[in-house]
Symmetry: C2
Subunit: 137 residues, 2 copies
DNA sequence: TGTAATCCCTACTAAGTTGATAGGATTAAT
DNA sequence: ATTAATCCTATCAACTTAGTAGGGATTACA
């Protein structure tokens, strides 16, 4: 299951990408428009900022803005930040590899092979999709 | 993340598919060989039996056996039984569709479109893979 | 017919995750 | 100063996961 965190994060990014103005977009505005609990959204955007996807401006008239063009923001990056590893098992994760405790030899593991295929096909989608595709910009 | 339940279930199915004998395969044997907690595995195989993937024989010399040929057992079926919906959000699930509370119009939802793509690419893998592929039979 | 082996079923539980909420600290514009 | 924003930490209820425990029901076979 996709977490609410990721779902909200994607919606917020889409909203920011679509907002044309020069000034940064405020959390309250996004929260209201996208029906997301504001405090929860705050923490999500903070995560995205720390990961370098968003920039922020503090104080009055502050808010969040994209650090890159929507066409440059890949879903691989966003999904990894919000949802964590793309692979369904650590033993096939490219970025967060971990050995399974119960597998003596992962090359003989039937689950391993299947999960590599799933990972690759999902990666293909995420590598081929940018924020621009999501937001129609 | 893939649950242990699914992982263990897949390993167990693979084990059963590989075991050539006429008599059914016992839980204890699978548990020992695949390093799976026996009681946990019992409940998993029970689920697979109730879903019609496995058959069972009770009493002494009892055990589990496949109800179909490995080539006939698709990953779509097994994954749905063990892991639940293949879609990452209910609003794009083919078998367990549910509307999102926060989406006024899901056709305009950016997350929706992305998740349909992920669902389709994952489905493609699962529809193309049978237990025979996993077990090399 | 007794007994051991095996699946079947229900209930419980510790640990972790999720989806928030609360309260304030910090920063910047006016 | 005041106001409006982000930033940060802590807390929490509900749920899920990965088991464990204990026994019931069924069957093979001596």
């Amino acid at each position: 299951m996709l977490s609410k965190k990721t779902k909200y994060g994607l919606k917020a990014l889409t909203y920011i990408a679509r907002s044309t103005g020069e000034s940064p977009v405020q959390v309250s505005e996004i929260a209201k428009s996208e029906r997301i609990p504001q405090k929860f959204l705050e923490s999500i955007l903070l995560t995205l900022r720390k990961a370098g996807v968003l920039g922020s401006k503090k104080g009055k008239h502050g808010g969040y803005y994209l650090r890159k063009e929507p066409t440059e923001i890949l879903m691989t990056e966003v999904m990894r930040v919000l949802e964590g590893p793309i692979a369904m098992v650590p033993c096939v994760s490219l970025n967060y590899y971990e050995k399974c405790d119960d597998c003596p030899d992962e090359h003989k593991c039937s689950v391993h092979k299947l999960m590599i295929e799933v990972r690759d096909s999902t990666l293909k989608v995420f590598r081929n999709t940018t924020l621009a595709d999501l937001s129609g910009v």
